[in-house]
C-alpha cells in the first residue's frame, strides 16, 4: 500500500511517498520539499495573503500529480500554525479540498508535538532513555518529553523562525538591540516552562526540523568535519551550535549565502533560528543534540500505520483497490464471512449459467459479486430493516474504484436481497437509468435466491447447476447435509428473478456424494 504524507508547514511544504508493508514497516519512495513560505506575513497579520495561497495551491497540485504518478492509495495531509492561526485558514483548506481533491487536517501544537515525538521514537535509537525532542518550525517550536512509548508532556510555543524573523530581525547583520529584543521575547514566552521540563529530567535530546538540521550542518562544517551524506542520527554539541549562532548574528546576508553548508533559501531566517534554538538549549542545559531527519510527516505516517494495522494487511492481501475497499467495508461491519463469500460464489454460478437469458456482461458480474459479499452488512447497524442499512452503508461507506452508478447498482442489488421488490418510487432505484434498473432486477433476483440457498449460514448447498427448458429455469442444488431451512425459504424468493427473466424458477436439491460422506457410509 502506498501512502503520501504531506505537511503544510509555515515555512515549507514537505511530502514523502512511502510503500507500507502489512507488518507496518515502510520504505520511502519519494520525497518532495518546497519552501512555500505560507507563513510570510500571515503570522503577523492573521490572514493568508492571496499570493501565499496561490503558491500553496500550486505546490499541492504538483504534489497531488506526483502522488498519482506513484499510484498512492491514500494522501494524509496536516496543516500547522500558519493555517491554524489564519482567519482565512479554513477557506484555504476548503480550496485545497475542492480544487485539488484532498482535505488536510489542521493539527494543534500539542498534536504536532506528539507526532514529532512518535517520529523520533521510531527513527532514533533512544535506548529506552528519557528523551526530549525539539522541533523548530516556521511558526512554532514544539518540545516533547517522554520515555519510550510514553509521552509525558508537550510544549508548543509561537517562537517559529519565520515568525521571529518577521518580528525582530530588522537589521542585517542583526543589531545587538534587535537580538536583545528577540532574546527577551523568548525569555518572556518560556518563563517558567523550560524549568518544568528540566525538572522532569531527560537524558537524550533530539533535534528535528529544517532549521535545526541546517544549523547542525553549519556546525559540522565549521568543526572541519565533512557533514555525512545524511545528517540522521549524527550528533552535534551545543557548544558548536553556540559558535554558529555567534557567527550568524555577526554576518551579513551576502556573507551567509556563501557559508559552507548553507542553504541559500534559508539564509534570511536562519539567524533568528540560531538565536531561538541557542536560548532554549542554554536554558535547558543541553550539551549534545542527536539529529533526526524524521519529523512531522513521518509522524503522520506512523500514526496512521499504528491506527490501521488491518487496512495494511488487507492492502497486501488485495492489491486490487476495488476488492480491497469492499473487504475493508465488510470487515468494518463484522460481516459473516463464510456466508458472504458463499453467496458470492453461488451468485456468479447462477449468473454465468443464465448469461444467454439476461445478456449481462462481465461488468455486471463484478457488481453482483460485490453486492453478494456486502448484502448483509446492514446487520451491524441493526437487524430490523438491515437491507436498507446495507444500502446506506454501501452508498456512504467509501467504496473506491467504482463509478457512482456502479456503486448505486451494488447498493441497490444488495438492498433488494430481501423484502420488497424494486419500485420506481424508491429513491435510489428510481434515479437509475433504465438499463441499470434492469440490471438491478436481474442481479437482485439472483442474489435473493442464492441468499435463501444459504439460509442457515452453514453452506449446506455446495453448488448450483442451472438448466432451462420451455420457460422453466431449473436450479439443481448439490447439498451436503440437511437443507430443510433452505428448501423452505427458496420458493418465496424466486419471484423477482422470474419476473426479470420471464421464466419460472424451480429449485430442487440432491445429496452430494462427498468423500467424507462415502467414508461415513462405509464405516456404518
Amino acid at each position: 500500500m502506498k501512502i503520501a504524507a504531506i505537511d503544510l508547514g509555515s515555512n515549507s511544504f514537505h511530502m514523502i511517498i512511502v510503500e507500507v508493508s502489512a507488518s507496518g514497516t515502510f520504505q520511502v519512495i519519494d520525497r518532495e520539499k518546497e519552501m512555500v513560505r505560507l507563513g510570510a506575513d500571515t503570522l503577523s497579520s492573521g490572514r493568508l495573503p492571496a499570493a501565499a495561497m496561490k503558491r500553496g495551491l500550486a505546490a499541492l497540485s504538483k504534489y497531488k500529480r506526483l502522488a498519482q504518478t506513484h499510484g498512492v492509495d491514500k494522501i494524509l495531509a496536516v496543516a500547522t500554525s500558519a493555517i491554524r492561526e489564519a482567519r482565512n485558514g479554513e477557506d484555504f483548506l476548503e480550496r485545497v479540498g475542492r480544487e485539488i481533491g484532498f482535505w488536510p487536517r489542521v493539527v494543534s501544537g500539542e498534536q504536532e508535538g506528539r507526532l514529532i515525538y512518535l517520529a523520533a521514537l521510531h527513527s532514533v535509537h533512544l535506548e529506552g532513555k528519557r528523551a526530549l525532542v525539539i522541533d523548530l518550525g516556521g511558526g512554532s517550536v514544539e518540545m516533547a518529553l517522554g520515555e519510550g512509548s510514553r509521552l509525558e508532556r508537550v510544549l508548543s510555543e509561537k517562537l517559529g523562525v519565520l515568525r521571529m524573523t518577521e518580528r525582530f530581525v530588522k537589521s542585517d547583520p542583526l543589531s545587538a538591540k534587535d537580538e536583545g529584543k528577540l532574546v527577551a521575547h523568548v525569555e518572556e514566552t518560556l518563563a517558567g516552562k523550560l524549568e518544568k521540563l528540566r525538572e522532569a529530567g531527560f537524558e537524550r535530546v533530539v533535534g528535528s526540523s529544517g532549521t535545526i538540521l541546517a544549523l547542525a550542518s553549519l556546525a559540522l562544517e565549521e568543526q572541519g568535519e565533512k557533514p555525512p551524506e545524511t545528517l540522521h542520527h549524527a550528533s552535534v554539541s551545543a557548544a558548536a551550535l553556540r559558535a554558529v549562532r555567534k557567527r550568524l548574528v555577526a554576518s551579513q546576508f551576502r556573507e551567509r549565502v556563501k557559508m559552507a553548508g548553507m542553504d541559500e533559501r534559508r539564509a534570511d531566517i536562519i539567524v533568528a533560528g540560531a538565536v531561538v534554538f541557542d536560548e532554549i538549549a542554554r536554558r535547558l542545559g543541553v550539551s549534545e543534540l542527536t539529529l533526526s531527519e524524521w519529523s512531522l510527516r513521518e509522524g503522520i505516517l506512523l500514526n496512521y500505520i499504528h491506527g490501521h494495522p488491518r487496512s495494511l494487511a488487507r492492502a497486501e492481501a488485495y492489491p486490487d483497490i476495488r476488492r480491497r475497499s469492499v473487504f475493508d467495508l465488510a470487515e468494518r461491519c463484522l460481516y459473516d464471512e463464510p456466508h458472504a463469500r458463499h453467496a458470492a460464489a453461488l451468485a456468479v454460478q447462477v449468473f454465468d449459467a443464465t448469461r444467454r437469458l439476461h445478456g449481462l456482461g462481465d461488468g455486471e458480474r463484478v457488481l453482483l459479486e460485490n453486492a453478494a459479499l456486502l448484502h448483509d452488512i446492514g446487520h451491524h447497524i441493526s437487524y430490523p430493516g438491515h437491507h436498507r442499512h446495507t444500502y446506506y452503508l454501501i452508498k456512504n461507506g467509501d467504496l473506491r474504484g467504482f463509478a457512482p452508478t456502479e456503486i448505486e447498482v451494488i447498493a441497490n442489488v444488495a438492498r433488494y436481497h430481501r423484502r420488497g421488490h424494486p419500485r420506481r418510487g424508491h429513491a435510489g432505484f428510481g434515479a437509475l437509468p433504465k438499463q441499470a434498473r434492469r440490471s438491478v432486477r436481474v442481479l437482485a433476483g439472483i442474489l435473493r435466491i442464492v441468499d435463501a440457498l444459504d439460509r442457515s449460514h452453514r453452506q449446506v448447498i455446495r453448488s448450483v447447476q442451472v438448466s432451462e427448458r420451455g420457460g422453466v429455469l431449473r436450479l439443481r442444488c448439490a447439498s451436503e447435509g440437511n437443507c430443510d431451512l433452505e428448501l423452505w425459504g427458496v420458493p418465496r424468493r424466486t419471484q423477482l428473478l422470474e419476473e426479470a427473466l420471464g421464466q419460472s424458477v424451480r429449485v430442487e436439491t440432491f445429496e452430494r456424494e462427498t468423500q467424507t460422506g462415502v467414508a461415513r457410509r462405509a464405516k456404518a
Binding site: E90, N396, L485
Partner: protein
C-alpha cells in the same frame, strides 16, 4: 423514559351508586394488552412502600395471531378485547381506581388498524391506551426484574441476560453488573414463528428441525450484538417459561423466584418436543393457544441458554405490569432519574464502543455539554430529560465516522435513527439523532427531512440542544481534552464563556467563536471566550 402518561379515569355518574369512600390514597390499575392476552392488575402502590396486589385478571385474546398473519386486527378479536376491557373497567371502578396506565405492545403496535382499535377502546370503556415500543417494554420489565431480584448476584455483581419470548418478538437485554448495556427486539416471537412456519407441510420432526434452525440463525445474529457467552446468569420471563417452571418444580415452586437447574429444564423441553399440540392440550390441560406457542418459545429459551455460561434459569415473578406498577408508585424523585440516566448512558457507551468512538473525546464533550446546559438552566427552559438526551447525543455525535469521515454527521444521524439504546423510545432517538447530526456543518434547514419529520416542539428542543452541543464540541476541537470546566457569565446581554483548561487553547477559542453562531441564533445572545483567571 420516566414520562409515563399518567391517566385518570372520569367516573360515569351511575345513578344509585354509593359515593366513593373518602380514601387518602386510592388503588392504581395497570392494563397490559399483549399478543395473546389482556391483563389487569389493581394494587395499592405508594412510593417507598411494598406494592400490595388487590386483584389480578386475565383473559386470553389472540390479537397477535390476527396481526402477525394478516397485519390487522379482525372484528371478532376486537370485540373480544373490548368485552374484556369493559369488564376490567368495571373492576377498576369497584376499587375506585383513578390513576392507571394501560399499554399495548407489539401486536397492537404493528396492526394497521391500531388507531381505530384504540379509538373504539376509548369510546366503549373510557380507557386511554398508549402503545409502547420495545425499548419502553424493556425498561419496564427491567424495573420489575430488578425489584424482584433485589440483592441477587444476577442484578448486582455479575453479567446476565434477560430474555422474554413474547408472541410477536423476543425482548433481550444484557445486564452488566445490573446495568442494561445492550437491549434489542428480535424475531423470535412464538406466535410469529409458528405462523411463519405454518405453511410448511411436512412431518412434525421436520417442522421442529426447521424451527430450531430458524432460532439458531436469529440467535447467531444476537450473539454478534451482545456478548451472550459472558453472561453467567439467565433470567427468563414470560408465560411459557413460567409454565415450564410450574411443571418442573410442581408444588414446591416459590412465588417470587423459581430457579430451574439446566438439566431438568432441557429434559422438560425434550419431553415437550415429542408431543403434538393436541397431546399438549390433553396432557397439560392447556388451551389450544397456549399449547401452540409453548414449543417455539421454549426452544428459543433453550437455544439462548446454550449460548450463555449460565447453569440455571431464573424465573422471577416479574412482568410488564409489575414494572408499570413500580413506575406508577414512584414519584418524580430525582434519584430515580439519576438511576435511569445511569442505565441509559451505560447503554449509549456500549453503542459508542461498537462504533469504536473516541471515548475520551466523547466523554469530554458530554461533560462540557451538560455543564453548559446547567449553566444556561435559566435561559433554555428544558427538562432533566432533555439534559439526558443531550448527553447521549454528545457521547455519540461522532460515531458516523465509522461509516465515513466525510459527511460523518449525517451518518451519525442515520445510525442513531435506527439504533437501540436502553430506555429511549423511537421519539427520543429521533431527537438524539437530530441533535447529534447538527453538531457540525449546516444548521437545521427546511430541506432536511428527518428534522422536518419532528413536530414543532421537538424541533425547538433540537435547536437548543444542538446549539449547545456545537459549542461543547468546539471546546474539544483538538480532541485532547484540554478544557476541564467552564462557567457562563452574563455580561451586557451577552454570554462570556469562562473556560478552565490546560495548555494552548487557541484552537478551542477559534473553534468556539466560529461555531457559536447557532447558539447566538437560537438564544439571541452573543458568546465570547476567555480563559479563567488565576490558573497557571
Amino acid at each position: 423514559m420516566p414520562k409515563p402518561r399518567k391517566r385518570t379515569l372520569t367516573r360515569k355518574p351511575a345513578p344509585g351508586a354509593p359515593p366513593p369512600p373518602p380514601e387518602p390514597v386510592r388503588p392504581v390499575g395497570v392494563v397490559d394488552i399483549g399478543a395473546s392476552a389482556v391483563r389487569l392488575t389493581v394494587a395499592d402502590a405508594r412510593a417507598g412502600e411494598a406494592i400490595q396486589i388487590l386483584e389480578e385478571a386475565s383473559r386470553g385474546v389472540l390479537l397477535g395471531k390476527d396481526v402477525f398473519t394478516h397485519g390487522r386486527l379482525g372484528a371478532a378479536t376486537i370485540e373480544a378485547a373490548l368485552k374484556t376491557l369493559e369488564g376490567f373497567r368495571r373492576i377498576m371502578d369497584t376499587y375506585g381506581v383513578v390513576r392507571y396506565r394501560a399499554v399495548a405492545t407489539s401486536a397492537v403496535r404493528e396492526a394497521q388498524n391500531h388507531e381505530t382499535f384504540l379509538d373504539r377502546v376509548r369510546l366503549r370503556t373510557g380507557i386511554d391506551v398508549e402503545t409502547i415500543d420495545g425499548s419502553e417494554e424493556n425498561r419496564l420489565t427491567y424495573l420489575a426484574v430488578r425489584d424482584r431480584l433485589r440483592g441477587h448476584e444476577a442484578v448486582s455483581a455479575a453479567d446476565a441476560v434477560l430474555v422474554e419470548i413474547g408472541g410477536g418478538s423476543a425482548d433481550i437485554s444484557f445486564l452488566r453488573k445490573g446495568q442494561p448495556i445492550y437491549s434489542g427486539t428480535y424475531a423470535l416471537g412464538s406466535i410469529r414463528m409458528r405462523q411463519n412456519l405454518a405453511s410448511w407441510q411436512s412431518s412434525r420432526e421436520q417442522w421442529v428441525r426447521l424451527l430450531r434452525r430458524h432460532i439458531h440463525n436469529v440467535v447467531g445474529d444476537i450473539r454478534r450484538e451482545m456478548p451472550l457467552r459472558e453472561a453467567t446468569h439467565f433470567i427468563a420471563l414470560g408465560g411459557d417459561v413460567r409454565f415450564a417452571a410450574e411443571r418442573i418444580l410442581g408444588a414446591e415452586m416459590p412465588e417470587d423466584l423459581a430457579v430451574l437447574e439446566k438439566a431438568p429444564f432441557l429434559a422438560f423441553c425434550e419431553q415437550l418436543l415429542a408431543d403434538e399440540v393436541e397431546g399438549l392440550v390433553e396432557d397439560y390441560r392447556l388451551t389450544q393457544a397456549d399449547a401452540e406457542t409453548l414449543v417455539p418459545a421454549l426452544l428459543a429459551y433453550r437455544e439462548l441458554l446454550a449460548e450463555t455460561s449460565a447453569e440455571r434459569v431464573l424465573v422471577p415473578d416479574a412482568s410488564l405490569r409489575a414494572g408499570l406498577l413500580l413506575d406508577l408508585a414512584r414519584g418524580d424523585e430525582s434519584h430515580e432519574i439519576e438511576d435511569f440516566s445511569r442505565q441509559v448512558l451505560a447503554s449509549a457507551q456500549a453503542l459508542g464502543e461498537k462504533y469504536r468512538y473516541d471515548a475520551s473525546h466523547a466523554k469530554n464533550v458530554a461533560q462540557l455539554a451538560t455543564r453548559l446546559f446547567d449553566e444556561l438552566g435559566s435561559e433554555h427552559g428544558l427538562s432533566p430529560r432533555d439534559r439526558l438526551l443531550l448527553e447521549v447525543a454528545a457521547l455519540l455525535h461522532d460515531i458516523g465516522i465509522y461509516v465515513n469521515l466525510r459527511g460523518h454527521h449525517k451518518h451519525t444521524q442515520y445510525v442513531l435513527s435506527v439504533a437501540e439504546i436502553f430506555g429511549l423510545s423511537r421519539d427520543d432517538m429521533a431527537i438524539v439523532s437530530n441533535v447529534a447530526r447538527y453538531h457540525r456543518r449546516a444548521t437545521p434547514q427546511k430541506s432536511h427531512l428527518p428534522y422536518m419529520a419532528l413536530d414543532s416542539d421537538a424541533r425547538v428542543q433540537v435547536n437548543k440542544l444542538a446549539a449547545i452541543l456545537r459549542v461543547a464540541n468546539a471546546l474539544d476541537a483538538d480532541h485532547l481534552q484540554k478544557v476541564k470546566d467552564l462557567r457562563v457569565v452574563v455580561e451586557n446581554e451577552a454570554w462570556a464563556l469562562e473556560v478552565e483548561g490546560a495548555g494552548d487553547l487557541t484552537m478551542e477559542r477559534l473553534a468556539t467563536l466560529a461555531r457559536s453562531d447557532f447558539l447566538t441564533e437560537v438564544f439571541g445572545r452573543k458568546l465570547s471566550f476567555r480563559e479563567a483567571p488565576g490558573k497557571p
